[in-house]
Amino acid sequence: MSFLSKFKGGASTSTPANASSAGKKDPHTTPATPLEKHLRDVAGPLRTDGSDKFFGFENYGSTCYSNSIVQCLYYSAPFRSHVINFPPSEYLPKPPSANDRPVAPRSTSAIPWPNLTSPARKVPPVPGTPAAAGQKEETKDSPEYRKRMALQAGPVLDMIHDNSNRYGMEESLFTGLKDIFEAILTNSSRMGVVSPHKFLEILRRENEMFRSAMHQDAHEFLNLLLNEVVENVEAFSKQHPPINGVAHANGAPVENGLARKETATNGIDTRWVHDLFEGLLTSETRCLTCENTSQRDEPFLDLSVDLAAHTSVTSCLRKFSAEEMLCERNKFHCDNCGGLQEAEKRMKIKRLPRVLALHLKRFKYTEDLQRLQKLFHRVVYPFYLRLFNTSDDAEDPDRLYELYAVVVHIGGGPYHGHYVSIIKTQDRGWLLFDDELVEPVDKSYVLNFFGGEPIPGLQDAKQLACAYVLFYQETTLEAMLKEQEMEGQKPVPTRTSEGEVAKDVGLNNLRNGVTAHPPAVATPIIPDETDGLESLAHAVTMPSVAAPAVQAPLEPTQTTPAEGLAATNKSWKERRLEAKEKKAAAKAAEKELDEKRKEASAKRVEAWKKADAELKSAIEASKMSAVDEASKRGDEVPKGLAENTAPPGGGLSRFRTTSLNLKNKPKFLSGKDRGPASMEKLPSVRQEVGGQQAVDGNGVADAGELSPATTPEMKSPPVTTPMSPDSARSPMSPDSASKRYRFSIRKKESQGVT
């Protein structure tokens, strides 16, 4: 933390737009957004751990896969704090003295800036992109409009610089991520938009498969990002001799690649990604010929489970560990009897990860269609989870997990669509992160994405949105109880921007919410320090201890602790007193209680009155804002109509926007990063990868090579197979229907081969 404060000032001034706070907005253009309303009751200084920052991420044209994943990682408190606190401060290069702008950033983004492909930036449609603009429905409620407003409202953190030299590291995805986290953390505003230029630039430079502006797979990205972070962190540790140890001369840049090794020798903790996300699978294979059982442990960073219709996540995990026959084309090479044999295989979890990233394999290769298809199977997921498929020797096999983030895929197929994430924040409940837009949602909203076969003809776009990656983090029963206790006391957030909804449901909620929770009562709790490292449960899953008292719904509650104590004392005494005294005490107590009750009811009445007044004023305000909106819409609707070439109500505007962006990508990629003319064509490498994965899936080798083995400089020639990167995910091996796990530490050596 000390490290942070060192350049806190510097960082916050480096983005001049920051100064504008949430409250400073053009009053007639923007009525308070749902997020603003949601955060209105927050007072007190910003926390230093970043848990009370709510920033959207700008979409750079189909980069929602990155946005949704980065958000999920940011709200994992231990991950965030590790990113921020690495490298340890003693390893940091000396900060330049009293320099506001912290050294010249190593490099500045080569991507044209401001980003023109960002759908939300097209405030006046940029000439030359008429197609994209044409699709927009300019209503007040449209997500596009709200995203644009979010971007306008700012502050926008333009991440165009690379500060990696400040961390003494080579530029990498990790430093890009760290830059983003730092910028959010050090900004003085609670909400805003991050524009992750540099991060995406690094991503694209180093990873061929993400270079195109096509729709990418969020899970694939998660896996890549975690592996990259592991690598970057370990590379740093290799380069840096222990403070009082021997130099470990290795100046090789990260790009040269280093095989993954345990590098805890020099005292730098490099294992934190492993500690958080890594679990251990043990696969038992019993050869049916010689009855010999061989065991192998394999680490995983996330679990990919196959889906069946009408199942639960629990059942998918069970099936993942169900016994499986290795036969026919998929025989097992038995070392004992030598040669391919039929065998039984079973995979169980030996070490449970602290954060369980669960990938629901919704994109499946279908033989008859010769392509990937999205599975809309209804798969239910609970808020809390334990694993049944642990091995007998697993430590803490009954570990309790809580759902803290859901990445949702919206779209009819794997080749296009949109990703958003819904994340539980420390004490602000569940929020929806849709690129630039951050909005509070009701807890029940989280369970809207079970999926289910779309009903033909039913005009409900919600059918296309299904959970794709689930993040469960470890928690404790105590933490769970605490949270349940809080449940009833939290005001129910509503997305009032939904207009119509608000009237029926929202009003009710508002009424309930206001009576129960005078907004002024709540104060945020400032933790003494970021202790996410040690105790995940305490830092993340549990609303702070002081909270119930502060947020107590009914004013009488505040008197309770004392009263309760008194009562306890009383009863303790009572037992020792004569019957007479007992009676007297009881009477007194009754009286006291009666008075209290009266008082309480008086207070309640008062609160109701107050709430009523507030409600009235709220209605008034909403009427005002409605008038505002109406007048605003007045000048916007014609424009919207002019742009709207599509038949109204036919399909998803958002969905169209994102897929349309694919056509815009040449505009986006320019300069040295311009890819091959046809971006839809992917290098042959990807196919190889698919093949290798299949091998891996057969249980033969731990190849796990996911590395798109080209460096940007190599500019591999376009290959004509129009294969999506997604196809790599669902290998065509006969094993494709079976379960798969993945720990794809990329071995950079292999790059030379290509």
Binding site: P382, R386, I455, A461, A465, G488, Q489, L554, K570, R597
Partner: protein, 590 residues
């Protein structure tokens, strides 16, 4: 196993502009896939009754939605549930020959007060038998009977007993309430009523905003006896009063998503509306049940975690909790379950109007309630993953048990009251022994959440139990467990605390005014015992609990199931498919 998604079952019924099915359909699919093979024989699907789903009211028609992230939630609806009624005094448990084996011997009243009687579980049968009899109930102190304020009101009603029961005031057919949209009685209702055999089975079912009355024993099963359409409100739950039913009278209560309650007497087509516009509690009613052997009292479980006892004959008044103080705050800080709070005691002198009593059990949704066969305790399962056993007569908590993880969704009692079954989001059916205050076994076999669980009283005796469960996985599972089997060693080696009960309990058993008593009774080592002797049980590790496999597992529908019932001659299940223009299915397996 991967199966391609089945084609939509009802053709283009769901397509826009397609005609909505307004008539119920009866199908008789045959084939091995519609048979359940169990030890005692084969059950074959005899009738699949598809109930017409009403279109949304014109004023409430859903708009085409182009925003996949829209937070618009339609009116809350529940799957189709059934309330069954046989008019003749049920022959169970004395005549169980048709499906049973051997005669039924009620277990003598034993150790636990709540383990006494073998009167069916929440299912309608059973005024017969010893413990179901009026004599039995008049000898024990019933709910609210010690409160003179309640007696005054109740007295005149009692005088009318059996001969002339009080009917609701308003005629539902001639109603001009905007709450009721339309009532469609059968053309020949009197004739059909006359034809109905006293042994025949009436069923009441909810399908979104419709409530239908069916005669399952008649030839014309598909013809509704009466269909009531409400304007916007959806019926979420309903119950028939098994105590007052007769050839000319059926007391039905329905709970709505608006919080309203309708007391409906179908024979005379009269109704009354309670908790109007949520005057007492505005949150939806998840389940509703008549108090055992009460003519006028029923209990509604609201989604805000409150249980409210209403009197069908009383008026509403705006309700302010008489004691809103969370009496147990200290314990809550210690990480215990949120306190059980009495918002209004049944002992309250103010009994002129509803509610008769109100208790806050949780601050999350209540998903299911079930009365013990002896009518002395009430099991409540909540979204927070707890099973709470309430001594509702004395308004106190006896025990709190937790799911392995996730919410509990359904609950039922064994016919002898010894065991409670729960099902939930952990895909498990859990068997709880109240005598031992312990988890007996976890039943593994569902592939998704368990939505309903019931005992088959015709196949239970004092040592062997048969029960069934259904879930979101569209499956019906049957299970057998026997007392002998449960004595497996690993069942006893539980790593949890649980057996501190009695001393405190007796002490407080008959306390009359217990508004504040919770916090005053904490024992010195009171970590696990909360005031009042309420015991909170820890979660057992999966390694220490016996696992029970099903005897039969079969997918019985293409849609998630939501309600299960065992009748003397059949098993019934209904499915959840209520939110689009399809038919909700009820399959009857005999």
């Amino acid at each position: 196993m991967f199966v391609l998604p089945p084609p939509p079952k009802y053709g283009n019924a769901g397509a826009p502009g397609a005609l909505l099915e307004t008539n119920n359909l009866l199908e008789h699919p045959t084939g091995p896939e519609f048979q359940l093979v169990v030890g005692e024989g084969t059950y074959t699907l005899t009738d699949e009754l598809l109930l017409a789903t009403p279109p949304p009211h014109p004023s409430d028609a859903p708009q085409p939605n182009n925003n996949p992230l829209a937070t618009t939630i339609g009116p809350q609806s529940a799957g189709t549930k059934l309330s069954l009624a046989t008019l003749s005094p049920s022959r169970w448990p004395t005549h169980r020959q048709s499906r049973g084996h051997g005669a039924w011997h009620p277990i003598p009243p034993s150790i636990q007060e709540e383990a006494q009687s073998p009167r069916g579980d929440a299912a309608p049968p059973a005024n017969g038998g010893l413990f179901g009899s009026a004599t039995y109930y008049s000898s024990t102190v019933g709910f609210g009977e010690s409160n003179p304020a309640l007696q005054v009101v109740a007295a005149p009603v009692k005088g009318n007993k059996k001969d002339q029961k009080l009917k609701p005031k308003n005629n539902i057919i001639k109603s001009n309430s905007s709450y009721v949209s339309r009532v469609i009685p059968h053309d020949n209702l009197p004739k059909r009523l006359a034809e109905h055999s006293p042994d025949g089975l009436y069923a009441f079912a909810n399908i979104n905003r419709a409530f239908v009355w069916l005669d399952l024993s008649a030839e014309a099963k598909t013809e509704n006896m009466t269909k009531v359409l409400f304007t916007k409100a959806h019926v979420l739950c309903h119950d028939v009063n098994a105590w007052t039913k007769s050839g000319s009278h059926l007391d039905i209560v329905m709970g709505f998503n608006t919080g309203d309650v309708i007391w409906y007497e179908p024979m005379s087509q009269k109704y009354a509306r309670l908790n109007k516009n949520g005057a007492i509690n505005a949150s939806p009613i998840q389940c509703i049940a008549w108090l055992p052997h009460k003519e006028n009292l029923f209990i509604a479980a609201h989604t805000d975690g409150t249980l409210v006892v209403y009197d069908k004959d009383k008026e509403d008044t705006a309700f302010t909790p008489e004691d809103g103080l969370p009496t147990d705050h200290a314990h809550v800080d210690g990480g215990q379950k949120p306190a059980f709070r009495i918002q209004k005691s049944v002992q309250s002198p103010n009994q002129k109007s509803n509610p008769v009593a109100a208790w806050s059990v949780s601050n999350m949704r209540i998903n299911g309630i079930a009365f013990a066969p002896d009518g002395q305790s009430l099991a409540v399962v909540c979204e927070d993953g707890t099973l709470t056993i309430l001594d509702y007569i004395n308004e106190r908590v006896i025990g709190v048990y937790r799911s392995y993880y996730g919410a509990m969704l359904c609950v039922t009692w064994s016919p002898d009251g010894r065991y409670v079954l729960t099902g939930g989001q952990d895909d498990l059916v859990s068997i709880w022994s109240l005598v031992d205050q312990a988890l007996v076994a976890r039943c593994v076999g569902h592939e998704s959440w368990v939505t309903d669980v019931k005992f088959d009283p015709w196949r239970c005796d004092e040592r062997n139990y048969r029960f069934g469960s259904i879930g979101e996985d569209c499956r019906l599972l049957l299970w057998d467990f026997s007392v002998g089997m449960l004595r497996r060693p690993n069942v006893r080696n539980r790593g949890s605390f649980s057996t501190h009960v009695s001393a405190n309990r007796k002490e407080s058993a008959n306390t009359v005014n217990r508004i504040r008593s919770n916090s005053s009774r904490e024992p010195a080592d009171g970590v696990e015992i909360k005031g009042d002797g309420e015991v909170v049980h820890a979660v057992d590790s999966k390694a220490t609990v016996a696992v029970l496999p099903p005897v039969m597992s079969k997918s019985v529908d293409e849609h998630p199931l939501c309600w299960l019932g065992f009748e003397e001659k059949c098993i019934l299940a209904s499915c959840k498919d209520g939110n689009n223009a399809r038919l909700a299915g009820v399959c009857i397996v005999c």
